[in-house]
Structures are given as structure tokens and as C-alpha cells.
Symmetry: C2
Subunit: 430 residues, 2 copies
């Protein structure tokens, strides 16, 4: 057997502890599969004394993770600190500068600096591996980069944020409102005290930017991702979705269009009966469509210590066995200069919910605004009657352009009988 | 860029033609991802003149595929002939003897000779790659071998035969009988003229034996696979399954038990709402359960020229890029000597359907037979009344041992009031 691979772990929170536990518990298994032992030789974290369930007595401890990245004995630096800048970035840069392989679970870092870091890794002839950064234990990066290597991908999409999916599932199953379920998720530890990252689509946008780069062989373009979260999805919308045969999911979607690559994260109505509609709770799923393979669906746990440690271990085994691919599947010079498509140019069907005063003529005014923008109605539901009071009116449209839809909605929002900002949810046809 | 990889393709049926088309259409893409061109330098098939939609004028043609495998110019032999013995086996053996990498889609070959061929490949220090042999374009082999490398797998199962799944789905959706749907599938080309391979579980058994080897790091053991097909599933059973909250699927299941590794292929009742229950028509799916990653589900097209070519191309790109793993994930000497568990020792819940004469005392006799074998009833349904005539009676049991269940069924089958052989379908709890 070849000499052991020596790794340094920066960041020993839940995920870091999970990685240490996996490497200890599965040491034999991992050594057999990698063809050599993987040994944790150094570590760095804020709190040295915390019990992480593993023996760290033989591990060299660094106060300064950046200094650790330069330790000449280390072959691979595992970055589990998190955050797009600061220490995490410095550790990864230092590791690559010292020609050490890097494994990271840090989606924010890759979404912000992925292309530049991949170039540094390529110049240093080392691996930059990040299976754990997207969809936890589900092997989406490897599948897109290696298993679909013979395909042109036309679309990749998925449920990339477990917290949002948990909230939407719980709202639907319990017939409950967003704020209440969010509060409960925070108590259960499924959502952060500051939940914006999850529920405003930021986390999903990071992951989508990475997925799109791997799937389309294009530089990471986080700025090109349109992102909208689940904050405004109400129980009413979930009920209407059920009635219309849909389920509401927060999806990240990257799709080739005539105008370039569309990257967007927003709540979607997806038809019940499609695989993605059946993915509930904290589970994640990614669907890729290739010209030869057709539709491939990958589903599993998108977060948590175990699944993330599993993905980190897979990257470590690949590196130890010497079988790593370029970060985004192709050399940096071969990344395609594929333009991004503006959200205004998006074409799709829409669900619109209005709260209107139940009085004659309102629907006529709404319909006129849509007609003037060439938005073609597919269906209209006005449930119940309450003359003079607020009632919900739901409209679904045929395929139309986002910009036209927005203009029509601005006009509709200005109508006196329309009481709240109109709610728009895009309908996706899978 | 490195020099081109030169490949020889043995067998140019639907899949072979698909591979040639992919390598022609995606030549640039594949070269960028592999870091070198992949060139079809030689080919062999029964009929040279058939139009395969690609230009073969620059390809060296061999009448004898085994001779082709020895061509010194060739780096990789792609075996797409099929069959567990004969030419396919000789081509693969010859290729390995000449230290050439082998890519194959041949599940029967691997199920019969996998361990021996993997040893030959290891001795020759070449790749034996077979992503296309199981579940078509779905990257199940790579996921189990590489992405789950840090996990102990406790169970792997899946819908491995698209023809059977198509028949079961069509029976359910149309309320139709097996024989009728099979006949139609044969007309549509979804089932072979001799359908035994598909509907008797043989094809699924081949695939399960391969999956189990990769998932559990164990020599391929086709003889250890219990196999039973869908021939005896009737519309009545499908209706009862729906009533009980189940769906009937032909599954291949490999599971670690106290008695060793269980490998079995048979119709199963799976609870509606589980991911596997939602996989319909010709789609395949594989579910793996690992101790760190949890449950991972992979779904897609399990057969056809496009998906199979996609899997072959992925193997070729990996080989061209030099990043191939041992055939079963670990060196041959490290394959575990894990005993096989006999089907008699299987423990699980059962669905039993009897056709009985509707007369007093029958249920008491049936219940007595079960009691005497310590089989505990969970539910009993006798639908309708037709004194003196045949009526279906359905029983479900709590977990019990297969041998006891069989003994009880033998006694029940011998009862005078029981008119047809009892039908048994295992209930799986996922």
C-alpha cells in the first residue's frame, strides 16, 4: 500500500466533527477503497477543548488555520469553516499556493470565487473538490461532471435548500402559515436564527451557480442568478396549488435558452406526479436532462453531519486514489463563454393570486391589463362570494414573457379594487 | 492535449450504434472532458452494411471480434455483443490478455464471470468498466463505488428491469391482466419475443448480483440470488395492493442480515409515498442506504441506445483521463468473504392471496395453519360474498420467517376449499 495521505481539517463544527468520526470509524474501509490510509494529521478550530467524539491527541493543533495550510507534512486541506470570505478564503488560497489539494463544503466560497480558485488549483496541478458543497451526500457534482460527460445538458434543476423544503412541506401537511412554521423550524434547529440565507433563496442560489458551472462548463456566475425565496408563499397559495394539481417547491433552475443560460431560484408550481414534486421535508433532489441520457434524478439528504461527511470522504478517497477531475469538469481555458439570460426575457407560465374587493367589474379590469400585454389566461378561480369584501382571485396564464407579466401586474396592482400586492409564482413544466 | 485514445467496438446493434453516434456528435465535448480525443479505430459486427447513422469509412473492420481485441493499435475494447459466454466472453478475455481496457454493457457476462474478469483486469493493470451494465444511464456503479466510499452500505435495492416495471404500471393504470399487457409490450418492442429473461427476474438478478458486489465489496455471486418474476402477479393483486396502500414493484434487494448477505429479486408490495413506489413505466431506480449518507435515490432510464451510450461514454472518458477505480471498488484480494443468506431464513411481512370456496370454516382452517407455524396475521380481507363459489381472500402477516410461511402455505394449498395455488408477495418496509 502507498504511504498515507495526510490531511488537515480547518473548522470542527458539526460537519468537521462528522468528518473526523467517519475517518476514524471507517478507517479500514476507506484505506481499502483509496488504496492508502487517510490520516488526520492537523486540525484547527475555535475551541480546542470541545468534545467531538474522536481522539485528537495525535493531531497537530493549529490556532491559525492559514498557517496550517502551509504545513509541509500535509497533502490535503479540508476547509469546513464556511463563509465566502475571511478565514475560509485565506485557508483555501494558502493551501493552493502550497500546492495542496483542497476539499471544501463551502458553497458560498465557491459561488463567489469558484472560477478563480479552480484556476489556482489547475496551475498548482492539485484537486479542488467540493461534492459536499451542493446537496450534501447526494453525488450531484460527480454525476454531472463525470457520469454525464458524454451529454449536452439542456437543463438542471433541483430542490437545493432543505430548510425551505421542510417549511413548504410542513405548511402544506399541517395547513399552516409560513411565519408559524418558520418559528418552529428555528426552535428545532432546522432554520438559523437569521433565516434569510435559507428562506430568501441565497443558499440555493450559491448551489445553483456551482451546479450550472459543472453542468454547462461555464465560469461560476453568482451575479447572474435571479433569486427569490419562500417568504411570500402563503397557505392560500399552497391550497390553490393543490386544487390546480400542483405542489409548490423552491427550485434552483439552470436552463439553456435562445438568449443564453437562465439561472433562477424561486418558488415554483410543479405538477404532482413528477419526481421533484414528491421530494418532501428536508430532502434535496437534483434533476439533470442530457441529450443522450434523458432525465436523471438524484435524491437524498442535502445537509447534516453524516451526509456532508460522506461527500467529503468521497472526495478524499478520489484524491488519495489519484482520480480527480478538473473542478468544473474541463480545464479553465475550455470553460464556455455562454452569456447569461436576463430574467426579463424568461418565458413561462404563471400563477397569480390577487386579493380583490368582491364587486362587479374587477375581473374585467384585470383581464384588460393582461390582454394589453398579450398575456393569455389559462384559468381563473374566484372562490366564494363576499360582496364588498376581500376575496382571493387566482389566475394562471399560458406561456408568456416575464417582462410583459411584470408590466401587467404593475397595472393590476394599481387598481383600486386590488387590496394587496399581487402574488406571482412561476409554473414549471417538467 | 495527449494523443487520442483508440477504441474498438465489438457489437453494433442498437446500443453499439448509439455509442458511435454519441462519440461522433459529441467528439469535441468528450475530448475536452477527457483531456484527449476518443477515436473509434476498429469495429466488428455481424452485418457490415447496415446503416448505423455514422461514417465508418475510416474504421478498420474485423470479421473476428476476438482478433480485433488483439489489435496492437487499440487502447480500449468496448464489448456490446451481449450474452454471458461465447464471443462476448472471448473478446473480453482476449482484450484483458492484451492489457487493453475493457468497457462493457454486458450484465450477464459480469454476473457469471465478473470476479474472474476483474482479477484479470487487475493483473493487467487495466480498467474493467461497466456502468452501462446496470440501470442504463443512471450512474449507480460510480455512485456506489466512489461517491459512497466512506459508507458501510446496509441495503441496496431497486427497480432494475424496465420491461417488468412497464408491465406492472400498465396493468395498474389500465386495470388489465398480465398476459394482455405482455403481448402488447412485445408488439411495441418493450419486451422480447422470449420474454423470460425480463419477466422471470433473470435480468434483474444479473444486475443485482453486480450491484451487490460493488455495494458490499464481495465477489459476484449470481448463484446466491433468489429470483422470482412477475408472471403470477394478477390484476386482483394489484387492486388489493392499492386498497392496502401499496404498489407492486419487481425489486432487486441486497441486504445485510444476521445470517449474511441476502440477495433476492421478486415482486414486492412497497408503501405508496416511498420514492421507489413512484417510479413508473420503463424507468429504473436504485436506492442505497449508507451509515453516514443515509438514503440516496438514483432514478432514470434503465435501457435504450441513448442512456446506455451515455454510460459507456462516461466510462471511456474516465479511462481516457486515467481516473478509473478497481472494478468492484477494492482490489480483488480485499473482496470480503461475506456469506450468502439462504432465502429460507429471510424474515419479512407477507401478502397472501387465496381463491377459496365461500363456505363456513375455511378461514378457520387457514388461520389454524398459520397459527401452527407461528405466523401472526396482520389483516384479512374477504371481499364480497358468493356462497359456494370461489372468492379471493387476502391475508397480510407480521414479520415472519420465509420457511415457516412456506410450510403454512403448503398446508393451506392442500385444503379442499382452496382452489388455486396461493399467491405470495413479500411486503417490503422502506
Amino acid at each position: 500500500m502507498q504511504p498515507a495521505v495526510k490531511i488537515a481539517v480547518a473548522g470542527l463544527g458539526t460537519v468537521g466533527a462528522g468528518v473526523l468520526q467517519l475517518l476514524e470509524r471507517q478507517a479500514e474501509l476507506v484505506a481499502t477503497r483509496a488504496g492508502r490510509r487517510i490520516v488526520v494529521a492537523a486540525a484547527s478550530a475555535r475551541d480546542r477543548r470541545r468534545d467531538r467524539g474522536v481522539d485528537l491527541s495525535a493531531v497537530r493543533w493549529y490556532e491559525d488555520a492559514v498557517a496550517m495550510a502551509g504545513d509541509p507534512e500535509i497533502d490535503v486541506v479540508v476547509e469546513l469553516i464556511g463563509g465566502s470570505d475571511g478565514v475560509a478564503l485565506h485557508v483555501v488560497e494558502a493551501a493552493l499556493a502550497h500546492k495542496k489539494h483542497v476539499v471544501t463544503a463551502n458553497k458560498a466560497l465557491l459561488a463567489e470565487h469558484g472560477t478563480r480558485l479552480a484556476r489556482l488549483a489547475e496551475e498548482a496541478a492539485v484537486a479542488l473538490a467540493f461534492e459536499a458543497a451542493v446537496a450534501g451526500g447526494i453525488p450531484v457534482i460527480k454525476a454531472l461532471r463525470e457520469s454525464l460527460a458524454g451529454n449536452r445538458v439542456s437543463r438542471v434543476y433541483g430542490i437545493l435548500n432543505g430548510t425551505s423544503n421542510y417549511i413548504l412541506t410542513t405548511m402544506r401537511e399541517g395547513g399552516r402559515e409560513f411565519a408559524e412554521v418558520l418559528g418552529e423550524a428555528q426552535k428545532l434547529g432546522y432554520a438559523e436564527a437569521d433565516p434569510s440565507f435559507d428562506i430568501d433563496g441565497i443558499d440555493a442560489a450559491h448551489k445553483l451557480a456551482i451546479l450550472a458551472s459543472v453542468a454547462f462548463g461555464r465560469p461560476v456566475d453568482l451575479r447572474g442568478v435571479y433569486a427569490e425565496g419562500i417568504r411570500h408563499v402563503s397557505r392560500l397559495d399552497i391550497d390553490f396549488a393543490e386544487e390546480l394539481g400542483y405542489r409548490i417547491k423552491l427550485l434552483g433552475i439552470a436552463r439553456l435558452t435562445d438568449h443564453g443560460l437562465e439561472q433562477r431560484v424561486h418558488p415554483c408550481m410543479v405538477r404532482r406526479g413528477t419526481p421533484i414534486a414528491a421530494v418532501e421535508g428536508v430532502f434535496n433532489a437534483v434533476v439533470a436532462e442530457g441529450d443522450f441520457v434523458g432525465r436523471v434524478v438524484l435524491e437524498g439528504r442535502g445537509a447534516g453531519a453524516g451526509p456532508t461527511a460522506s461527500a467529503v470522504a468521497a472526495d478524499l478517497v478520489d484524491i488519495a486514489a489519484g482520480r480527480y477531475a478538473p473542478a468544473f469538469g474541463v480545464p479553465i481555458h475550455a470553460l464556455r463563454d455562454l452569456p447569461g439570460a436576463a430574467m426579463d426575457r424568461h418565458r413561462g407560465a404563471y400563477y397569480i393570486r390577487l386579493m380583490v374587493v368582491d364587486q362587479p367589474g374587477v375581473i374585467a379590469d384585470v383581464a384588460a391589463a393582461l390582454r394589453d400585454e398579450n398575456v393569455s389566461l389559462e384559468a381563473m378561480i374566484q372562490r366564494g362570494r363576499a360582496p364588498g369584501e376581500a376575496v382571493p382571485v387566482v389566475l394562471t396564464t399560458h406561456e408568456t414573457e416575464e417582462a410583459a407579466m411584470r408590466r401587467a401586474l404593475d397595472r393590476i396592482a394599481a387598481l383600486e379594487a386590488v387590496l394587496e400586492p399581487p402574488r406571482l409564482i412561476r409554473i414549471e413544466d417538467f
